[in-house]
Every structure is written in structure tokens, then in C-alpha cells.
């Protein structure tokens, strides 16, 4: 038996497998296929202040081992979310990570304030949004803008609610952004968001997506995601990380733990298999057991350990034999 408990800052979770923002709506649809309370937590689609139509179709293009999406954060707005979605999640006994998104620091702050008196287990701040006050530059690509948003949200949110910054991989030095949001008061970091991509339709000779560019997700981006988790764990070793990017199996999830994530989000895999999160959780447990880890905590960041540390931590386990 592996101790599957983990934590993201002050939030204790029974297991380390969560959904990923935008890949589970607000849990209800997936509830037909799995028990949402059995997951580490449900991470909601990013909520914004006002209702949003999202972008015109086509919004999706399949790519090798992945997909591009250009939804444009279609959603009902925070009021409808609080009135219907959040109570439903609570009723199911699901732990709830609310992803928030905005076009200005003020919008993020307003969202954090609206959530103050509601049962929210963690706030994930989606900063991969264009900043309308800075000619549309994405917050997550600018250490200053990113840290402004995070420190403002941290001050506005309930002090007991951990605030995680969700980082974009589309930056030169993700460690620098990680240090900036850590200094700004982030309780943890979620990574990675999608990579910006494009497909051109060779029949119409135009970009395939209505929004022209889209976010690339799925196993195609997994090595990038693992690398980012590795680098950010190096940059801010004491901060809890929620890792994601193309996780399809328990083995994939294990890579993220070993790179330094305390928990993982399962995203695009849900489109392939709506029960993927619970399957991956079961697979991860047997992977941890196979490797001789007694707990999730023992595996977090293990790939960074020196040979001497590994021997001491693993005790009698024959590491050579495992890796063969």
C-alpha cells in the first residue's frame, strides 16, 4: 500500500490526481463517468467576471499526439458559476480548485474577492491571458505583470485559500517567472499551460482555427512540461507544484512527481477517455509501488536527488534493478 496523500500548500489531498482546467468543465459532465469526489480535486474551467461567448468555430484541430484549441474561455461568468457549478461540486463532495482568468489585474482581484466567502479549496490563477492594459501582452510572459497579478490576488483572496500561479511554457526562462511569482506570494505553481501553435488548412490555405492560433496540448507537449517542472523545482525547491501536460498514463504522472510536482492534472486525456483521471490514479499507485516508494511524498522531486541521497531514501530498494 502506497500512501497516496499529498498536499498543495495548506490544502491536503487524498491523492495527487486532479483534472486540468478547461478539460473537465465544472465537473458535472465527467460526473456521469466517474466519482468526482474520488479525484484529488476538480480544477474548473477558467472563470471570468463576465459571461463570455468564446471564439468562432472551428475551435479545434487534432495534431500528432495532441490537439490545438482556440475556445476563447467561453463561460457563464462568476455569478452563474457561484450560483450553480460551485454548489454542485460541493454537493458531490469534490475538492474544488477554481481557475480564474482576467484581462487586467483588477479583474483577477475582483474574482478573488467574489470567491472569498465561498467554499473554494484552492485558486489557480490562469495568467496566460492577454493584458488589455499592456497592449495584449500575456501576463505569464512578463515577470512584472505576472507578479503584480499574483500579489494582488494573494492579498484579495481568503488567507486560508492557497493561491497558485499557472505558468505558460512560452517564455525564455520559466525559472525567472517562477521566482517572480514566488516572491509575489504565490503558495504554489501550476504548470504548464498550453503552447501556442498553429495549423494551416491546406485546402482553404488559411489557418485551420477561427482564432488563427491555438493552445497545443496532449502527449506532444509532455517532454516540454516535464522539463518545465524540473526547472521550476530547481528554481523554487520549496514551493509545491501542480504538474500537467500530456499525461495519459500512471507512468506519465510518475515522471511529473519525480521532476518535482506534488500533484498532477489530467487534461486532454479526458477527451480520449472520460475515465482517464481515475485510471491514471490507479496506475500511478501501482507505479509508485513497483518503484518501492512508500508514499507520494517520497517520490516528489526524486529525480533531482544525488546518488547518495537516493540510496539513503530508498533504503534496501535496488535502484539499479528498478530502472532496468
Amino acid at each position: 500500500m502506497v500512501d497516496m496523500r499529498t498536499s498543495l500548500g495548506s490544502l491536503a489531498l487524498p491523492n495527487p490526481v486532479l483534472t486540468a482546467s478547461g478539460c473537465a468543465a465544472a465537473g458535472r459532465e465527467l460526473g456521469q463517468f466517474l466519482d468526482v469526489s474520488a479525484l484529488g480535486a476538480v480544477v474548473t474551467k477558467s472563470i471570468m467576471q463576465r459571461p463570455r461567448s468564446g471564439r468562432p468555430t472551428p475551435r479545434m484541430a487534432e495534431t500528432p499526439s495532441g490537439m490545438l484549441n482556440s475556445i476563447g474561455l467561453q463561460g457563464p461568468g462568476i455569478d452563474a458559476f457561484l450560483a450553480t457549478d460551485l454548489p454542485w461540486l460541493r454537493q458531490q463532495g469534490a475538492r474544488t480548485v477554481v481557475s480564474i482568468a482576467g484581462g487586467s489585474t483588477d479583474e483577477y482581484v475582483a474574482l478573488a474577492k467574489r470567491l472569498y466567502n465561498h467554499p473554494v479549496d484552492l485558486i489557480e490563477v490562469n495568467i496566460s491571458c492577454p493584458n488589455v492594459e499592456s497592449r495584449g501582452q500575456v501576463f505569464a510572459c512578463d515577470p512584472l505583470a505576472a507578479s503584480r497579478v499574483i500579489s494582488a490576488v494573494r492579498r484579495a483572496a481568503h488567507p486560508n485559500t492557497p493561491v497558485f500561479a499557472k505558468l505558460s511554457p512560452d517564455v525564455t526562462d520559466i525559472g525567472q517567472i517562477a521566482r517572480a511569482v514566488t516572491d509575489a506570494g504565490a503558495d504554489g505553481i501550476s504548470l504548464i499551460n498550453t503552447l501556442l501553435g498553429m495549423v494551416i488548412d491546406t485546402e482553404t490555405l488559411r489557418p485551420a482555427l477561427g482564432g488563427e492560433t491555438g493552445g497545443l496540448s496532449g502527449p506532444a507537449i509532455r517532454p516540454v512540461a516535464v522539463r518545465c517542472v524540473w526547472q521550476v523545482h530547481r528554481a523554487v525547491p520549496h514551493l509545491p507544484l501542480l504538474g500537467m501536460g500530456g499525461i495519459l498514463t500512471g507512468k506519465d504522472a510518475l515522471q511529473f512527481l519525480l521532476a518535482g510536482a506534488s500533484a498532477v492534472s489530467v487534461g486532454t486525456a479526458v477527451f480520449h477517455d472520460p475515465t482517464a483521471p481515475v485510471r491514471i490514479l490507479a496506475e500511478l499507485e501501482s507505479e509508485l509501488s513497483r518503484c518501492g516508494f512508500a508514499s507520494v511524498a517520497d517520490a516528489v522531486g526524486f529525480a533531482h536527488r544525488s546518488p547518495a541521497e537516493r540510496d539513503r531514501l530508498r533504503g534496501s530498494i535496488d535502484v539499479e534493478g528498478i530502472s532496468a
Binding site: F33, S65, I71, Q74
Partner: protein, 281 residues
């Protein structure tokens, strides 16, 4: 529900491939108009998104023998993989999904219009309407004869089937909307049901509207998940409150009242759409 089905029969029909799959769970609760989402490419696939197909030929059967049918047109890597699969192949299925065709309580004269393999979901619908005692006629259209689907099955069911092809290679040359007005008038139809490409559904909707009768149409929109999570398959649809929204064709469709769909705005973002003002810039 999610179920591993097994291919029981594969039949080539013109440009299409018809699959009969043992899937008692999907078969059990099926209603005409619903679809199934199928994984493609096998266990180590690089194609993550399910392909969705309208269901027909569903035999609930006994506890052990429920089968479903769907028809595939190979037009991409995923469907090309699927049509190569032999009898006995296991398929990962999620279904039945979506809102079915509304069935009137009383028998109502109806015209059914199918474009290409869009006629597939109309076959079980016709069966259901005939059980009610409704008078039916059916119009099947396609670009060419090899792209017609379900002609024989429709003839067996309801006798009178009108066929149109763009190139005149079968039936009368032209579009399904050419014979539609007279079909509505001759039958005294009170409703039109249709499935096919979007421009055809828009045109069918216009004809129905000109005759002051409703048209219930099933759209063929590409979907990533099929279960209402990904938000990729949206269409601009006017609601009961008169407000237009992007709605998901997988869970709020695939069947819509044609008069509610803003066909001219598909692929666009009309300024009056709910939440369009929240998009900024």
C-alpha cells in the same frame, strides 16, 4: 456510458463503410438522433480525439446480443484507420450521446430529408414514427450515386423515397430542397426531420419555415470529446428567451430546431451573441 464493443460485421456501401458492433450498453438506451464517440488508432494511438457517428440499426436484443450500427466515410487519418479494421476488432465506445429527435405524441405526417450518410439516423427515426402510425415520405440526396446512403432500407420501411443527386447519377438531378416543397404539400406534412451537411440543413429549414412547419435537424459538427466538456462543437443558437448563445452540439444537440440555429453566423461571432461583449478588444 463507456463500453468496449466488438466489430461484428463490416460492409462496404458505395463510398461508405457500415459497421455493426456488439455494444449492448450503448444499444440499451438508444434513441434516434443519438450518436456514439469512437476512439481511433488502437491502444498506442497518436490520434487522441474520438470520432462521432450517428447511430442506426440498433438491436437492443437480449442481455448478451445488443448491436449498434454506424456508417463511416473515410476522409482523414482516423476514419481511414477505422475503415481498415476487420471483424473482431475491439472499439472503445462512449454513447449513446446527445439529444434525440423529438417524437410527437400523436401520429403526424412528416418528411425526412437525408444528405449523404446523414440519412443514417433517419432510419430508426422513420421506424419510430411508423410505429406511431405517422405518414412519411423520405428524400435522400448526395453529390453522386455512390454517396447515397440508406436508399434500400428507406424503401423497405416507407415505400416512397425520392432521390436527388447533384450530378444526376441517381434519381433526379438537383438538391434535396428541389422536391421538398411538393413533398410537404402532397403529404400535408406538419414537420420536417433532416440530417446532413450544414448548408443543406439551413436550406431545409428555410423550406420548412416557408411552409410554416418546424424542422428538426441533426448537425454533423466536429467534436473533440462528445460529452460536453471541451466546448469545441458550438453553434450559435437562439434560446427560448430570444437570446443567442454558443451551444454545444454534442450535449445540447446534435438535434436542433432549424429555426433556432443562426446558420449564416456559423463560424462567425455575431455581436449580439450572449457574452460577445465580454470578449474584449
Amino acid at each position: 456510458m463507456q463500453e468496449i464493443g466488438e466489430i461484428f460485421d463490416v460492409t462496404r456501401l458505395g463510398s461508405y463503410t457500415q459497421f455493426t458492433v456488439v455494444a449492448p450498453g450503448v444499444a440499451r438506451s438508444f434513441q434516434p438522433g443519438q450518436f456514439v464517440a469512437v476512439t481511433v488508432g488502437g491502444p498506442e494511438t497518436s490520434m487522441l480525439l474520438r470520432r462521432s457517428f450517428a447511430l442506426y440499426g440498433v438491436k437492443p436484443g437480449t442481455q448478451f446480443a445488443g448491436t449498434i450500427q454506424f456508417v463511416v466515410a473515410a476522409h482523414g487519418r482516423g476514419t481511414e484507420w477505422l475503415v481498415r479494421q476487420p471483424v473482431g476488432t475491439k472499439l472503445d465506445l462512449v454513447g449513446p450521446l446527445g439529444v434525440p429527435f423529438p417524437i410527437p405524441r400523436e401520429p403526424v405526417p412528416a418528411v425526412l430529408v437525408g444528405g449523404g450518410y446523414g440519412s443514417a439516423p433517419l432510419l430508426p427515426l422513420a421506424e419510430r414514427l411508423l410505429e406511431l402510425g405517422s405518414d412519411l415520405t423520405m428524400i435522400l440526396g448526395a453529390a453522386s450515386a455512390d454517396r447515397l446512403f440508406g436508399q434500400l432500407a428507406a424503401k423497405r420501411l416507407i415505400g416512397s423515397v425520392t432521390v436527388t443527386t447533384d450530378d444526376g447519377s441517381a434519381g433526379q438531378r438537383g438538391r434535396v430542397t428541389d422536391p421538398l416543397p411538393s413533398a410537404i404539400e402532397q403529404l400535408g406534412a406538419q414537420i420536417v426531420y433532416a440530417c446532413g451537411p450544414m448548408p443543406m440543413l439551413a436550406a431545409v429549414g428555410e423550406v420548412a419555415q416557408a411552409h410554416a412547419i418546424p424542422a428538426q435537424v441533426a448537425v454533423e459538427e466536429s467534436m473533440a470529446c462528445g460529452i460536453g466538456v471541451c466546448m469545441t462543437c458550438v453553434l450559435p443558437v437562439r434560446g427560448d428567451d430570444g437570446v443567442s448563445r454558443f451551444v454545444r452540439s454534442c450535449v445540447e444537440g446534435p438535434v436542433f430546431d432549424a429555426g433556432r440555429v443562426r446558420w449564416a453566423d456559423v463560424g462567425r461571432l455575431p455581436a449580439d451573441l450572449f457574452g460577445a461583449d465580454g470578449m474584449g478588444h
